[in-house]
Every structure is written in structure tokens, then in C-alpha cells.
Assembly symmetry: C2
Homo-oligomer: 277 residues x 2
């Protein structure tokens, strides 16, 4: 049973509130019930949110925790006021804590722009991001060598080593054009990288994985196949690692890493120009 | 020219620090130079970060802004101490501001677990998320009707209305299995939904788009084609909207919305069980 109810309230999507709130809550060994209240951008919706928070406080008999990223001062005042009245809630005002000190530091007033994700659908940065997602889909799994040289990063590795989710994450979060290319038995026989990749070595990054874990993942897809056998997985992984070592490609093992950790490490190593990392 | 340099320092990936920092900085009409310092998880790396911050402060003659999500107390003390010495920096200690008040509120001490993304690669939630990404790729653009009934959400709309990026975002961020299905001229002629979708109406959500914007997007792909012509785009959009209205599917226009806003709105409407929204 959850120990406490947590509200994420924003006048935008609430994604920032929830991302940051989750990081803070991960510091506690407790179960939280999440309630997301996005697009709370006027007094009426603020009062509706207050009713919901108070109702929760009353039936649970514990102060709800309320993470807010609110730019609208009226909405913030309504929710802030209600949290300090009985039945109380604990308001963690994420912009309040940092925006006001930054106004002083920068000598600027904040623009009260709601939602950093809004109104950007026609911006160049946004269009570039959509293009990066499309590029990464079209260059998934070595599907196309078209415009491969305009990739920011090209991932290589054996089938099911984590290339596709990592490519899509880099495209989605950072607007990077990411190709990914499987290393297959033919490459190991020739003991060379796929020919299309040879001139692009600076952009290459290798992913490898523990053979036992790989066999497990492949068995979920194709049970009892040669493809999924531990013996074959061991062979492919060791051949791929030997090739990456020989050609001087940077690489990491994805076995115990999340997509976010893999992506962060790749960015540190490759430092794509587009990011001015 | 950027007004100020901003550091994002974390003992994990730094993704939370940057997500939240960007949301705060978006409140100011100023240009910031971003420096990401992830995986700062020991004293040596902390001292290295301090050298970099001090160097920036000296050559720029302005206090750098330092967003931190640091769990390691030693690292936090080294960076915090250095920021208040000359040359000064402005440290915005994101966990410090909220974790300590929460410890009091919950009557728990925080577990100092570094990186909410780490060590999760074998967790059920993480595996589900990877499976959701694979599912969404396999069910992109009506490619497969296999297991369509196990989708959490199925997006429908004309080609290039935003279905693919939205599907992948929902899979990546929320671990949802999302199919997407194009509405094509044959469907408009029959004036019916694609047959595979009829029994799944509760999971359907429609995306539409302004025809002028659609023509612009399609022209980048296939210049001067009938597919991209304004006349054809007008026809497809009006036929698709008529069909969604007639069949009672919930829908929105993606024209001025970001992926994040579209995704948030869909979640509010569909409330997938998996999320306990």
C-alpha cells in the first residue's frame, strides 16, 4: 500500500515536475501514489486541483505531497494558499525555489512563459528533432546507407545489444541523427567492419553485452534457436569485441546499464558537434 | 553570445539536473552555454569539476550557474565549498532544497541512492519499457495486427500527422505499448475505420493537423507529388476528421503542439491501466 499520495501540478505538461519529483522521491524507500494534474492554467482549474488535494488529505489523514512547476502567479497563489490551510499539504514549489534567486543573479525578471514544450512545434529546433527521429528510424538496423555520413552517431553491435532503444532515445531527447548497424556473422568471417562504415569511424560507437544476458533476451524472441543459443551468443560477442578492439572503436557494455546511462556515456565520448557538448 | 555558463553536475547521468535546469532557464530571455558533467561520483572527479567551474568564472568574469543533483555528500561538500569561495559560482542544489524537507515530512532518511536510472536494467519495469519500445516499433504505421489488442493506446490519423514520434515517446517515457495506424484513401472510400481497429475503439486516439502545415511537411518528403498537394491534404484531413467524429473517437490537432503536449493530453483522455493515471 502506498505510504503517501504525491501530486504533480503544472500549468504545462507536468513532465518536468514529474521527472524531477521522481528523482527526489527515489531517495526514499516508500511507495507513493502518483496523481498528475497537467495544464492547470487558470483559477478554475486551480480550485479543482485544490478540491482534489483536500479530499485526499481528508480520506488518507496524511499530508499529500504537492510538487509544482507553476508559472501562473494566480494559480500558484491559490494552490499555495490551500496547502497551508487545514487539511494541510506539503507544497514543494520547484520554480519558486530557483527562479527568484536566478532573477536576482541575472538581473532579469522571468518571462512567465508557460510550458517549455509549448508553442515550439514550428521552431527550427523542434523540426530538427522530428527529423532526427525519422532519420534514426530510417537508419535503424542498417536499413539504409543513404546519407549515412550525415549521422551524428552510428551505433554498432550484435543483434539485441541495445542499439535501437539507444538510437531512438538520443534522437528524441537530444535531436541527434543516429544510425545503427548490426554486426553479423559475415562481418566476423571477413574480420572487417561493414564497408559502408569504414569512412565514418569517428562517429562509430560500439555496444556489447554479456553473452548469458544476450542469450536470455534472444530466447524470448526466438526460443531454442541457434541464434539464441549461449554458444552462438558467446561466439558473436567475442568476435564483435575483438573487431571493435582491432579497429579502435570506443565501446561499452550495456548489460547493467539503462538507456539513459548508455546515452550519457556515448555523448561524453563522441561529443557530437550539434550538441556543442 | 551566451550571457552565462551553466553547469549541470550529477553523480548519475545528469539528465534530471538538465531537464529541470532547462525548465527553470526557459523563464529567462538569455542565452546560456551548457556544460554537462555526469557521473561525478568521487572526490577526484569533484575536484576536476571545481577546476573547470573556476576556470570559467575567471575567464568570463561572471559567476557560473551550477545546477546539481548530487547524492554523494562528499562530492556535494567539495562543490558547495568551492562555489562559495572566490571566484564564486551560484550553486542551485536541487536535491538539497527538497530532500531534507521530505526527510522530515516522511520521518525517513534518504537512501543516498545515486542515479534513479542506474542498476535498473534487470528490473521488471525496465524490461517492460524495452518491450514497449519494441512493440511500438513493430506496430508503427499499421505494420502488424499481431497482438494489437494488447496495445495500451492506438493512434490513428493521416500520414505525417505526428503518430510515429508520439508513439515512440509514450513507449520510451511511460513504458506504454502504442500501436499507430494510418487512415488512408481506401478507408475514406469505405467511410469506415480499418477493420482491425473496430473492436478496439476504447484504445483509439486520433491525431489531426492543419492541411497547410501537412502539405508543407509532405512536400519536404515528396516535393510536388499529389500526396503532398494542398488539395489532397485538405481532402484527407477533412475525411479523417469526419470519420473520427462519426465513430466517436477522441482526437486533437497536433499543428501547434509538441510531442510532450500531445502525449500528456492523450494520457489524460485514455488513462491507460498500466499507468494507474
Amino acid at each position: 500500500m502506498p505510504n503517501r499520495t504525491v501530486f504533480f501540478i503544472s500549468d504545462g505538461t507536468g513532465i518536468t515536475a514529474e521527472t524531477f519529483g521522481n528523482a527526489v522521491l527515489a531517495q526514499f524507500e516508500a511507495q507513493f501514489r502518483h496523481v498528475r494534474l497537467p495544464f492547470v492554467d487558470n483559477a478554475e482549474k486551480a480550485h479543482q486541483a485544490v478540491r482534489q488535494i483536500r479530499h485526499t488529505a481528508e480520506i488518507e489523514g496524511k499530508r499529500p505531497i504537492v510538487f509544482t512547476t507553476l508559472v501562473n502567479e494566480e494559480v500558484r497563489a491559490i494552490i499555495g494558499g490551500a496547502c497551508s490551510d487545514s487539511p494541510q499539504s506539503m507544497m514543494l514549489d520547484m520554480f519558486g525555489a530557483f527562479v527568484h534567486p536566478l532573477e536576482q543573479e541575472l538581473g532579469l525578471t522571468s518571462n512567465h512563459r508557460i510550458g517549455r514544450f509549448s508553442d515550439i512545434s514550428k521552431s527550427q529546433a523542434y523540426n530538427d528533432r522530428i527529423e532526427a527521429i525519422n532519420y534514426s528510424l530510417e537508419h535503424d538496423d542498417g536499413q539504409s546507407n543513404n546519407n549515412l555520413s550525415s549521422a551524428d552517431v552510428i551505433l554498432v553491435g550484435v543483434s539485441r545489444s541495445g542499439k535501437t532503444p539507444t538510437s531512438l532515445y538520443l534522437a528524441m531527447q537530444y535531436g541527434l541523427k543516429v544510425g545503427n548497424y548490426p554486426l553479423i556473422p559475415e562481418d566476423f568471417d571477413r574480420q572487417q567492419l561493414p564497408p559502408a562504415l569504414t569512412p565514418l569511424k569517428k562517429k562509430l560507437f560500439g555496444l556489447t553485452i554479456d553473452p548469458t544476458r544476450l542469450a536470455q533476451i534472444r530466447n524470448e524472441r526466438r526460443p531454442n534457436s541457434k541464434y539464441a543459443s549461449l554458444e552462438n551468443c558467446r561466439y558473436e560477442v567475442s568476435a564483435a569485441e575483438a573487431m571493435m578492439r582491432r579497429t579502435g572503436i570506443r565501446w561499452l557494455s550495456t548489460t547493467t546499464k539503462s538507456i539513459e546511462e548508455i546515452a550519457t556515456t556515448i555523448l561524453q565520448e563522441i561529443k557530437p558537434e550539434r550538441l556543442a557538448y
